[in-house]
């Protein structure tokens, strides 16, 4: 709860410093994230806010949240993008099941360190790390489901 308040404050600060307006719609998008799963798609946001906020605004706001460092876009090998909020979350990687699409998370601290070292060695200013594994989850293996 307090984490959400912090997130809102962070967003407001970001907007003010960028000379942008703090609007009802923008805050509504941020608030909607509380009721969505950890990983969500843009469509889920405007379905949750149906008739309050248009799709265009959802996309525009998600981009702002990304720039504010509160949300990050992640690819799960599907045609459309997924997002996850970054506030109140530990550093982690994803295991994406190719059968059911489920996404498991695992602590990402040590893998992240490898990427950081590589970045340092190359003079690369690192701002985001993506660690992802694709395969078949335990449930799907048990069920014997195949492919995707």
């Amino acid at each position: 709860m307090s984490r959400n308040v912090d997130a809102q404050q962070a967003f407001v600060s970001f907007l003010r410093e960028a000379g942008l307006n703090v609007t009802r719609n923008r805050l509504a998008v941020l608030r909607a994230l509380r009721e969505l799963p950890r990983h969500f798609e843009a469509a889920q946001v405007w379905m949750a806010l149906r008739s309050q906020v248009s799709p265009a605004t959802v996309y525009r706001t998600l981009e702002l949240l990304e720039r504010a460092g509160l949300v990050r876009k992640v690819e799960f090998g599907e045609a459309h993008a997924h997002y996850e909020r970054t506030f109140g979350r530990e550093d982690h990687g994803h295991l994406v099941c190719r059968v059911c699409g489920r996404v498991l998370e695992f602590p990402g601290a040590s893998a992240r360190r490898t990427v950081e070292e590589a970045a340092a060695k190359n003079g690369f200013a690192l701002s985001e790390v993506v660690i992802q594994g694709y395969g078949v989850c335990a449930d799907c293996r048990a069920t014997g489901a195949e492919r995707v």
Copy 2:
């Protein structure tokens, strides 16, 4: 060179075992990959094969090559997908510059190990690992270029 022969043999075996035809076009796509950069987009393939192979066939063949384990689709944060060949390549991660789009590679063995351990712990059958860092490369920092 011998690596490319191996790749072709592997592709032929894959096609035969799947009951698919070994066609001129399919082999042409695989051969074209030799002359493309390590990371390429679908459009580069059919530009290289312009008037020999249609875009639709390029996409269909890239998917086969993916299933054959010879090519892998990678996301660099752009609207369209990128691909890289996996044969004759060491395990590696990517550092993607958000300014110029350049992609640096770094050895990925140890980061991969972390993902493998997480997968083992979860009974997850891992088939592919993606390790990616986003930020600004040394050149772009020196030039002082900003954003993207």
